[in-house]
Symmetry: C2
Subunit: 295 residues, 2 copies
Amino acid sequence: MTDLQDAMANTAAAVTRQLDSLLPRVAGPRGRVVDAMRYACLGGGKRMRPFLVVATARLFDVRDPRALRVAAAVEMVHCYSLVHDDLPAMDDSELRRGQPTVHKQYDTPTAILAGDGLLTEAFAVLAHPDTHSDPGVRAELTAGLAQAAGSNGMVGGQMIDISRERNDLDLDGVSELQSLKTGALIDYACQAGAILGGASRDAREALRAYAADLGLAFQVADDLLDAEGDAAQLGKPTGRDAEAEKATFLSLLGRKKARAKADSLTSSAMRHLEMFGEKADLLRQMARFVVERES
Amino acid sequence: MTDLQDAMANTAAAVTRQLDSLLPRVAGPRGRVVDAMRYACLGGGKRMRPFLVVATARLFDVRDPRALRVAAAVEMVHCYSLVHDDLPAMDDSELRRGQPTVHKQYDTPTAILAGDGLLTEAFAVLAHPDTHSDPGVRAELTAGLAQAAGSNGMVGGQMIDISRERNDLDLDGVSELQSLKTGALIDYACQAGAILGGASRDAREALRAYAADLGLAFQVADDLLDAEGDAAQLGKPTGRDAEAEKATFLSLLGRKKARAKADSLTSSAMRHLEMFGEKADLLRQMARFVVERES
């Protein structure tokens, strides 16, 4: 196992424990939505966004336990977006991480509510005094997550992704879609560590630039995986972009240029980390990981 | 026009202007979800919850402009819940306030996203420095709204409302459903004014007790309106509770006892306002209004 794999596995286990304790089961008919919320976010995944929160927080000597509540909130928002994106009226996906999606395991109304519940709970976690003693930090964390998740972020990106114009997007359009739908939360995950650590403006700008390259590299690699990856390893069907005739980095650039773009974004992401020295080694490895991963 | 009607109309107009400016249109395919969010919350309604925010804030000499951002955030959450409750997979409603529901006017995926966007935007508004200069106030406002909206509040209430057990609820069950699905946000609306105004613990307790009676009275009246009201005036079909064989305050208590319960809750709500003297007159009128309204 590489250092990164080791660190990611540790953070994934810690954030899963955190999510488990933040979402206690309740009795009665209301318990069903809590069970579905737990199902949506305790079932594994790479926990890349939580890892980014923890790893950037470490740059500013913020200890992991303090970062983990924020990491869990970010993961709740990520998981809510998957639950709603998977709905029959949206992407109509039956499998996620090799398991039935929430609406297959429960039903569609429960999945809608579970998504709503996770999105809401993320803000409850951030605003709670346990997250940070300084309410200014809590308010900034909340405002940033709302910005990343809303119509200027993930919701806006998903709207583009299901729009009639979707298949005819050019490279700028696909880039905008990516920066909203997946880039905004990756950016926030990196900023959250900096907010927790009271980072300088320079450090925040560097992390913003790192996150932009990382997020874009992640998406280019995702497009390549959809075309070339192994469905069993990915835990979901492949070839869906081409089947739906979606404009993607792959369809617009071709395989060779898309791969080169991913590699060049990786190098660029790493260069933005110079000011942090060795402390940022895991974040550098992450930039390579997102383009070399097989799932 | 009574003082209350006049005050409610003024607040409704002001909160609509506030919502309009908080949700600016955007160009491109992403604009569709913003249009749907605007459609969902600019189309009128009594704006009862925003009025409660403004009216309780006045008890503590908080000026209306300061309360209106919070009032708009509360209305966004109310409207998001209507959009998601109306979805085909939920209540499958075609009309709301006499107009097509969001999924009828747009489509189901856009309605899901518009609800998600409104819920998220509410937190963005509360956490923004323009809402209050003290970040401690902003964090408390955020935490309270998340609590009211999540699985311990509205989401939990809606889960019960669509559960298999729904039609067999007893009086305690119907009361719990009400306190989560509609009571929690009414409670929050009254607390928000107190949070903005730095109210004493006693004042907050009094408003909590007022809101509990008011919310319950509102629901009992709602059950009566569904059975006895005028569909044209309500802007939605009537008789749906009985048709669906739902347990309601009306079905469990009968018409006479339900009406008496509503009246006794009104009196009780008013009594909780004693410490505020004349300043609370509009809130007293509100307690009468919720049981005497015809829509």
